[in-house]
Subunit: 333 residues, 2 copies
DNA sequence: ACTTTATGTGTAACCGGTTACTCATTCGAG
DNA sequence: CTCGAATGAGTAACCGGTTACACATAAAGT
């Protein structure tokens, strides 16, 4: 391994001078700089980040914690984060938490042990002690917390839109899937939907789910149609759940969207290719990841951050699991 | 930050003794050990990996390089790798290469700079100088190279199976999508398919593609039906390409599988939920990632590895984009 | 001509661990 | 009872960078 000493020797200067050249700090004579740069070239030297990190007590590493990269929603988030970080020369230590508190703790610990300068996390436990103790910036992604900056989509509005749409398109006995209780955006969606359902006086039922895992979603889908067989509209807690519901509906011989309308949440890839293609509330996942990274970078650089909570807009994506909207409401105007 | 010195002071011993306790190395009196452990507890001390890594010249970090985590095939690979690594206490520095040589080089450099102990890569440039120079183990994943150990699926056999199936199911004018020329598994699939097509004397055409990007696949799908409008069977280079072909076929009003059969490759999530659900050649992506990590760990631990190239089996997954197999072949027996 | 200030470079301490080496004490074998 | 081996623990060098500080020389003010 080529070290700064080798470069110093080769260029006939001290390590301090090489370091100055590397970091473009302090005075270095133009001729000296050239000598050093030549030496660096010739020896193909790259500074060891570990040594640097040790002295500075900070690395160029960011911890990224997601529940499960295998869930089609998360790759987009991850990619957004990576792209922005990469632009500023940060690298990611990546982990799947599987919605397990222990795994989260373990990862947070290794992030700290590796002098990570920040953590971006789609945690399931935002209030966890491990986060509170940290003295590096934390940004919650697709999550909300009162103590930490966060980037998330407007779940409340999403829920409202979903309910409005499903009602306008004719559903009268709606079942709403309530996502995990401890995840704010999931609750917001739920509340937004219920809000509109109540205001408009449309009958609705609720099915609770505890996680975002596909397996659980499948069970809940069965439960849904068993408990409320006359449901004619389902607002799912996310697209994976919507898929499970769609499958179950089809299995039971129900026509979608004629007999049951289904609206998902997220707009994960390929969801528009199902049959019928799923209508959903789109979250800008890539952008959310990107913004979270951006926020993180500002935090790391100690810039005063005006906006610590970034709420992203959502939109209804009309596809085949909802019926066409009757166009008789606002005839003129 | 709590350091080993704080622990030593608190326990009334030297740092060497604390280190011995931590690493369970050398002689430490039982009473002393308890004192130290108590101090560690009370101060909530965790050793700094960076310092450790600097002295040992190796970290607990593994570089993982994938073309694009957003491509539905890769999350599974990544997850397999992560799960196995996690079992042995290794962590991942993760990067997307976007099939760009420059990005790969940059990532390899940072892996080295951070004292990564190994690199697992789905590289597009296995012969690249940057890999050859490395003196840490490299495992290629879903790729093949003569100089490095690799884990990949049996593409040749997969191609053969695809061709056999599509022929048995009645296609007589097959178009084969040839994946990127520099990616061996893609070529193997292609060759396997062509091999069978030639042996059986079925007419076939070829469309070349340069990358695995969805966008390109869409263009090529258009090109395919423009150049060979009477195609009645398509063997795609992967599922994303198969989706593009399916879409284009449907757009042109062709019935799938009645007029055109389509076989994909990979078996990515949700592909079985399309309409029609895509028949495909399944690669055990999660297992491949897991095995690659396992191989890497053996390499790191310096174990003599008998099997440096691990080829995983593939299988045909029959779904709706291929027709039913005529069952008249072996009537009695 | 004489301070000041700016420029240029080297020495050595430091970051937080690990380990080679040293030294002291205890134990067991002959 | 003696001596080598086993046990237990501390000191300091080391890993590869960064930077405070010292020092020398050149340029700029007065």
């Amino acid at each position: 391994m080529v070290t700064i000493k080798d470069v110093a020797k080769h260029a006939g200067v001290s390590v301090a001078t090489v370091s100055r050249v590397l970091n473009e700090i302090g005075y270095v004579h133009e001729d000296t700089r050239r000598m050093v740069e030549k030496a660096i070239q010739e020896l193909d030297y790259t500074p060891n980040e570990v040594a640097r990190s040790l002295y500075k007590r900070k690395s160029r590493l960011i911890g990224l914690l997601l529940p499960d990269i295998t869930n089609p929603y998360f790759p987009q988030l991850a990619r957004g984060v990576e792209d922005r970080m990469q632009e500023s020369g940060f690298r990611l230590i990546f982990g799947n938490s599987d919605e397990s508190e222990q795994k989260e703790r373990d990862y947070i610990q290794t992030f700290v042990q590796n002098n990570a300068v920040g953590i971006i996390s789609s945690t399931n436990f935002p209030g966890m002690e491990s986060y509170r103790r940290l003295n590096i910036p934390v940004v919650f992604l697709d999550r909300i917390s009162s103590d930490r900056p966060a980037v998330y989509a407007d779940g409340r509005e999403g829920g409202r839109i979903a309910a409005q749409q499903i009602i306008e398109r004719g559903s009268r006995r709606v079942t709403v899937l309530q996502g995990p209780a401890h995840i704010r955006p999931a609750q917001d969606r739920f509340q937004g939907a219920v809000e509109v359902l109540q205001d408009t006086g449309v009958a609705y039922e609720v099915i609770r789910t505890a996680s975002f895992a596909l397996k659980e979603a499948e069970e809940k889908a069965k439960e849904l149609f068993a408990a409320f067989p006359d449901t004619d509209g389902v607002i799912a807690s996310n697209d994976m759940a919507a898929i499970a519901v769609l499958h179950e509906a089809l299995r039971l011989g129900k026509k979608v969207p004629e007999e049951v309308q289904i609206i998902g949440f997220d707009d994960i890839p390929l969801i528009g290719l199902l049959s019928p293609p799923l209508s959903t509330i789109r979250q800008p996942a890539y952008d959310m990841g990107y913004k979270a990274a951006e926020l993180m970078i500002r935090l790391i650089e100690g810039q005063t951050v005006e906006l610590r909570n970034i709420q992203m807009p959502v939109e209804f994506v009309e596809r085949g699991s909802t019926r066409k909207k009757p166009e008789n409401e606002y005839v003129d105007r």
